[in-house]
Symmetry: C4
Subunit: 230 residues, 4 copies
């Protein structure tokens, strides 16, 4: 993908977070990667979404060196880079503090797979990381956050589980592309909201059967997928 | 009803779900049936509502064969067909993953009739299906979902109870027409939301009396109905 | 007040309910009374707010006979009339099924006075009626609903307590005028929402002191009121 | 800062509260201070935000005497003045009855620091005042409210903790400027909402570690801050 197209897609992914009510002020960030060149396009740090242009986005290499752009990259850049390094399959990363997904992260609880909305996107419970050690916070914090996410995924296919909750912090999501990652972040917020309500209705609620979970996940993502066009 | 008019009505019913905040991205679907010809107009699968035109809708016969349209029909088509076959009285079907109705479905709990908002539209608790067997999920899943709904209604007049919650999934609604079904889906979401809040306020809340339930249901739908004009 | 001006004010009060998200479809209704002529202007039954014009409003006398207008008045007219007859001080009545106030009504619980937002408008807990007897439901239901509200107020000054929750149904509010009643309905919804959240945070939450309640109520409504201009 | 610029900033801070859904009708108020002249610009009492112009704002001295403006200042003026007198570092004050922050105030519970969204802005739990004594309510109520806030902060740097919940009432926030105070009020509302949800998910939720709290607070506000541009 040409860098200009990637730049536009990453801008659009960032703006999608605003349109869907996932971010407040300068919270959150989206990035995308051009795998052939190893370049990452990411939101600048602390810039209001309302006046963000494609030209404000920052381009870095996979070591976080700025290659293009006058602004500082998102302070969460190192977390994005850790994910791009660990997960070859992914093309975009999104981080938000969206209300309900963040509430689960703060509660240090995985989001159980209570319904087909969840299973349409995520193959099982959304995992939550362990609390980070003081040492990992004090130095290389953002990079270590990425490592905590990678450990939490524990070798699973990152496209089967496109989100992890960072304990006491909030969700990181990813996908085929920046726009896919943003889409996942939006659905995660809704899944988190419904899981909270379902538990409030029935404290003993249990996950759906493996059969139902697999059916819905595969209907959209498996080799025999039949949801959508073509 | 002419097919073109039905096409417009079904488009409008789909868009009503967006306007009322019941659907995210491509979630949900509405259909309508022309009983004289046995043709069903339904939303195409996985197409964003924002760019959906009446001409994108798909027309099928009651066996699900596409009669008109270039796109694939909603993957939930077979559920709609099962309902049209079982319930002669209905003219439209709507399925959503709306937040609160879906939360009740995920909690596998019927929505008790706690107030007159509920009773104005639904004659008693909104039932929830049994969890589906693995075999019914693996093969003919969408058709079997429809059968689970029909079993759950247990011979009742489908116009007395125009909604069922599919356990671990979400609500299916129906009515005289596609627009009526969409209207029911919107009210169901609000009823589901208020029932959750009422239970949070008073965990021992009980349904309203049969007399109050019947009064409100009949005021709008019974032979002596006196709500509305004419 | 001239009837035309009252008609405009009642239309505006009805539309305020829509703007503030208190009503869905044709739910709810607002009316106003011209005390000198004993004429009541009220929303027509079952007409969507979006296409309601001042000329659609219905004018009745205090026995509910239509004096002007081609449409049927709100089916809740008799409840409004019962309140106008019992409470000489009031000039407007509003009924909604707003989410949180209705949830308290469905929970059959009064809303305790937990904060100054509440006390700024209501002098103490918002009372809830007793459940209605079957006989009172079967015949003259709407009039009897009004009587239940009047009994529930138990001789208090209706301008000290401008709302009652009808058990299993929803709130009725009133005030100096139709616009005042609509304003009260909007604030009641917010007060109901905050009381639910406060209880969720602290199940043992207690009402504010009488001193604080009186201070805030009097700051806005008492003889020494000093809130607002002039 | 020139008074005209301050006037514009205070207007903008008031309007920000509306845009973010923190205020209903005439609830809430924002002010700013010109420290060199000791003049305070504040919202007028009970004027709807929709028709508020910069020229409607009231300018007073630090004893509350109106220096400029035809309208009465906010009835909470004395609380603002108490905060300006006690906290030399601050340039703006905002008071709201925003839904979730007010719910915590009504519950008389401090908001624990459950996540990094919280820690990005507030260094620890948001404290709640003691209930006010009847004597402090009956006379000089608004001034005494300010004193309760000051006592509650207990000598801490007011820029480390830019908000206090007044028990049974709602939040007061402050900051470098009126716009900073409004920004804090918006974030506080979101933090309050997420804390409630986190507790609903996990009743035994505990605050994040001191290391994580300090890391995030310092990342934005400390001497080595690296969030944002420049």
């Amino acid at each position: 993908m040409m860098l200009e197209a990637l730049r536009e897609e990453v801008l659009e992914a960032n703006l999608e977070l605003v349109r869907r009510g996932l971010v407040l002020y300068t919270f959150g960030n989206a990035s995308g990667i051009a795998r052939e060149s190893g370049l990452v396009v990411i939101k600048p740090s602390g810039v209001p979404y309302e006046r963000m242009a494609a030209s404000d986005l920052v381009i870095t290499d996979m070591d976080g060196r700025v290659v293009e752009g006058d602004l500082k990259p998102s302070s969460d850049l190192a977390t994005h880079l850790a994910l791009y390094r660990a997960f070859d399959e992914i093309g975009g990363v999104v981080h938000t503090h969206s209300t309900h997904a963040t509430s689960w992260a703060q509660a240090c609880r995985e989001i159980p797979c209570l319904g087909t909305t969840h299973a349409d996107y995520f193959h099982g419970a959304i995992p939550v990381t362990e609390a980070m050690e003081a040492g990992d916070i004090e130095s290389e914090y953002e990079w270590n956050t990425g490592q905590a996410i990678v450990r939490c995924l524990d070798g699973r296919d990152p496209l089967d589980m496109r989100a992890v909750l960072v304990a006491g912090h909030g969700p990181f999501c990813w996908g085929d592309s920046a726009s896919d990652a943003a889409h996942v972040a939006v659905v995660l917020e809704e899944v988190a909201r419904m899981a909270l309500s379902a538990m409030a209705i029935n404290v003993g609620v249990t996950p759906i059967s493996d059969a139902l979970r697999d059916k819905h996940f595969m209907r959209k993502r498996g080799p025999g997928a039949y949801y959508g066009q073509k």
